[in-house]
Amino acid sequence: MLEVKNLLVFYENALAINDLSLRVEKGQMVGVIGSNSAGKTTLMNTLSGLIIDMKIKEERKGGERITIMGEVIFNGEEITHLEPYDRAKKGMALCRERHPIFPESDVLENLKIAGYLIKRSELKERIDFVFSLFPALVGLKHRRAGFLSGGEQQMLAIGMALMIQPILLLLDEPLLGLSPAIQIKLVDAIKNIQKEMGITTVISEQFARPILPMIDYGYIIENGMLTLTGSGKELMGNPEVRAAYFGV
């Protein structure tokens, strides 16, 4: 479904992604694990096309030069230079790090805005579906999203990504800044989404412990480079991974 071939991303002369290749098959849950500044967000922005928008805007104002080389192929189509809104139309949804919601709108309006690409007649059904996945949001539907807790905002952000009926869901550090109890709830919700809806999912995280058990395949990246790959089980059993991420 998704293939990345020899991807290189530069911010000016700094190499953020270094010759990275990966594959995601339909229906899989794939993890991208790495520490801070490993290049996870740059990779997710490149997959979703957000980096193309950043590049255009930086070029317009003569700011930072962003260079992207290599190929991103989605469902057999080369999309490396496609804008993010066009990738969303093709069924690719990114849930950015740090709860990307519309803070001044209430929960319901956030979901309505997120339903921009779907037909008006499907909107209510889709919103009901999101509320069925995240029942905690039902009682908060008229609360301003900026006033929600971190966990609630993350649920809303994932719900918003699901509004576009994605066939590929990209989750960028969904557990960042959440308490362990909320992390467990959210991991269950993500597993549930993947199991019930069969949406192909790529999840990037620095917390390997909750992620590795649920992924089909994983890529460990450091300094923008792939250092290890393998199934979730294989990676969990790898002594280097255990030392680096589990502290054992």
Partner: protein
């Protein structure tokens, strides 16, 4: 006299809100402070005048064409000029002010100077409210102003494009990954904002005459209302319109009408000293944009 001042103060408040609506909408959504706004306001009035006087087209049709052309011009200005400098506030201001100056001074070059440039009122006559006589055009301004604010509210809260506007105004990158094309939406917002400037001009200018200087004062009034109310805040501009509208009317009544414009300038200065972000605005936005 007080009753009359209160009534005319209210009408003046609606006039200011009408003038500022389009400027505020564009800024709120695209983040562009469109300093060509006053020129678009006058462009619409002159276009309606030319269609009506030279081409003898029906007044209502002339108005519709003038507003549509103003919208189109606003959209084109964004698409071909402002888009290239978007995100660079100083360049946006310089570019849009330059475009505005060019449009206004082009009309002067073409000879659109003098007192013959007037637009007819929609309905002639006046009515009395208590002891105060007020012409029907002013009452229509109030009706149109209230209708426009209501339509804008419904548009931004209940239509797909309006909701996309709201999303983009809050978090552009999130909007982008949800399938909303931010450049397209910004172009729409410039077009709609310019169209609103056109509606304001055609509703307000039948009270006086169409003059190039009107473009400069419309821009100044729009800026005063938006800065006092808080850039991008619709509630803020309604409150600011009432404050400045009444302040102007009381000044004109009790001091002298030539002091009216000074009120807008003083309002800008006072709010920048007391609360630079405006009554309902955000400090960050003001720091970035002004």
């Amino acid at each position: 006299m007080l009753q009359g001042t209160l009534i005319y103060g209210f009408v003046n408040s609606v006039i200011l809100a009408l003038i500022a609506l389009g400027f505020n909408l564009t800024f709120g959504i695209s983040g562009v402070a469109n300093f060509a706004y006053g020129a678009l306001y006058i462009f619409s009035a002159y276009t309606a005048w030319m269609l009506l006087t030279w081409l003898k087209i029906n007044y209502l049709i002339s108005i519709v064409i003038a507003v549509l052309l103003t919208s189109l011009l606003g959209g084109l200005i964004y698409k071909f000029i402002l888009l290239r400098v978007r995100g660079m506030p100083i360049s946006e201001v310089i570019a849009s002010f330059g475009i505005g100056l060019s449009i206004l001074e082009f009309f002067r070059f073409l000879g659109f100077v003098g007192s013959e440039y007037t637009l007819p009122v929609f309905i002639d006559g006046s009515v009395s409210i208590g002891e105060t006589y007020i012409d029907i055009q002013r009452l229509l301004i109030v009706v149109i102003g209230i209708a426009l604010v209501s339509i804008l509210y419904l548009f931004t809260h209940y239509t797909k494009t309006g909701l996309a506007f709201r999303g983009m105004a809050q978090e552009e990158r999130t909007a982008l990954i949800l399938g909303i094309n931010s450049d397209k939406m910004a172009t729409f917002s410039l077009a709609i904002g310019s169209g609103l400037a056109g509606v304001a001009a055609i509703t307000i200018l039948p009270l006086g005459q169409v003059a190039i200087e009107g473009g400069y004062s419309a821009l100044l009034n729009a800026l005063a209302v938006c800065i006092v109310g808080g850039l991008g805040s619709t509630g803020g501009i309604l409150v600011a319109s009432v404050l400045i509208g009444y302040a102007q009317t009381f000044t004109a009544t009790y001091i002298g009408s030539h002091w009216m414009m000074i009120v807008s300038l003083i309002a800008i200065l006072v709010i920048l000293i007391i609360k630079p972000s405006g009554l309902f605005g955000k400090q960050k936005e003001l720091e970035e944009r002004i």
